[in-house]
């Protein structure tokens, strides 16, 4: 099987499993809605305040909801013994990583697509714009990549689900700052050129993280 077909098979398996159980996406969605609610109570978000806080609240919600989905995705592999099967199969480790990371990217994107209209209505900001979608995608790629790598680590620790946010969030700070600032800029009506730095930061983060994850993933799943 070619590399791409293996990757596609792994993504397909994750999507099929998710379509049967719907546990990841639904948990992330409900959690995001709750997080949004809690943020608006805690910060008393109305009017101009809501608009100013929207990008930050959006990305905090994505980051926290993301840790739920990422740890669930890896825990499922462990519990079902599927990861052992994947490792025994004549597959490159990088194919497993790309497959898992893309699967996670797909699930996070589905959640984000559902969140955007909700955010736009509740916070009265126009978030559904092509450029904001690009920022969202750039941020999510990096987050899903580093998250997949660290979830594979966290699932093999005693603390499991507790471990992932502790490991992941300090490393996701560049993504969070970059994505929030780019979204703020776009909402303020800045054009692409003025955001150059933040977009570059997100792209560089994605590339660096992808490279490091591809190089190190085989040491994480080695049994």
């Amino acid at each position: 099987m070619s590399f791409l077909r293996k990757v596609r098979a792994i993504i397909g398996k994750d999507i099929t499993a998710e379509l049967h159980t719907k546990e990841m996406v639904s948990a992330m969605l409900v959690f995001s809605a709750l997080a949004m609610l809690i943020f608006s109570f805690a910060l008393d978000l109305r009017g101009a305040m809501a608009e100013a806080a929207a990008p930050g609240v959006l990305w905090s919600t994505i980051a926290f909801a993301g840790t739920l989905g990422l740890s669930r995705s890896m825990a499922r592999e462990e519990q079902s013994g599927c990861i052992d099967g994947l490792l025994l199969a004549p597959t490159d480790r990088t194919a497993i990583f790309i497959g898992k990371a893309t699967g996670n990217l797909v699930f996070m994107t589905v959640v984000e697509i559902a969140l955007l209209p909700l955010f736009s209505v509740l916070f009265d900001v126009a978030l559904i714009r092509p450029r904001i979608l690009v920022v969202l995608l750039l941020g999510t790629v990096g987050y899903a990549a580093v998250g997949t790598l660290l979830a594979a680590i966290a699932v093999n620790t005693r603390a499991r689900e507790v471990m992932l946010p502790v490991l992941l969030l300090p490393l996701a700070i560049p993504v969070l700052i970059g994505a929030v600032q780019a979204t703020v800029g776009l909402l303020d009506g800045a054009d692409w050129g003025q955001l150059g730095g933040w977009i570059q930061l997100l792209v560089v983060y994605d590339l660096v993280i992808l490279a490091v994850s591809l190089l190190t993933f085989e040491y994480v799943v080695e049994s």
């Binding site: 502790v166 300090p170 490393l171 700070i173 560049p174 730095g197 930061l201 660096v208 994850s213």
Partner: protein
Amino acid sequence: MIDETTTRKPTQDLTGLLLAGASSAFVIIAVGMVFLYAPRELTMGNVQRIFYFHVASAWVGFFGFFITFLSGIVYLMTGRRSWDIVGLSSVEVGLTFIVMTVVTGALWAKPAWGTYWTWEPRLTVSSVQLLIYVAYGMLRASIESPEREARFAAVYGIVAFVTVPLSWFAIRWWRTIHPDILTGGEGMAVTPRMIQTLIVSIVAFTTLYATLLRQRIRLERARDALTRLKLRLERGPLSGGSFT
């Protein structure tokens, strides 16, 4: 196979003794220079003298991280426990210095800017590093198999290290885009004496780091040796099958 450095008594560890001597001497010189040689800063006064130790410990905090990153790479390539020990020791020693950075930063900020915490970019990056160091420690503590612990820690050390420069850029741009009045007037009148004092402080802290790192490595090796001896003792004559 018991390591040579482990079995030697502390007094026989010549390199260790030399390092301890050098770091003591440098630290004494640095303290002297900070209080007697460096001039009193014009706007901030004597408070500014914390700067020399603050910057030196920030440097060592970052340098310790770099050493963990390097030893992580070498560990993954060679699989040798000694590199894992270097990585974990460097994190523990680095953590001490980064805590010192954040604490001295806050202590300096209070009289200089009127508040303990200003989200000043470099201080913010140091606190992010502090959290990463803590996460690294928690990760190690949460894994049973020593071999897996070493492997995961090496990977985490590498991934975490590459994000630090990106965090640095992110936080810096973020703060320059929203100019902060508090950190805006940071201009310090730097004189050659100040630079000299800073360099000596950095040398002092770096040798202190090396001294502590060496002792921490020795401690870990001694622990390994003890574990091996205990195992041998447990297997002992009864289970070892040496009845005759």
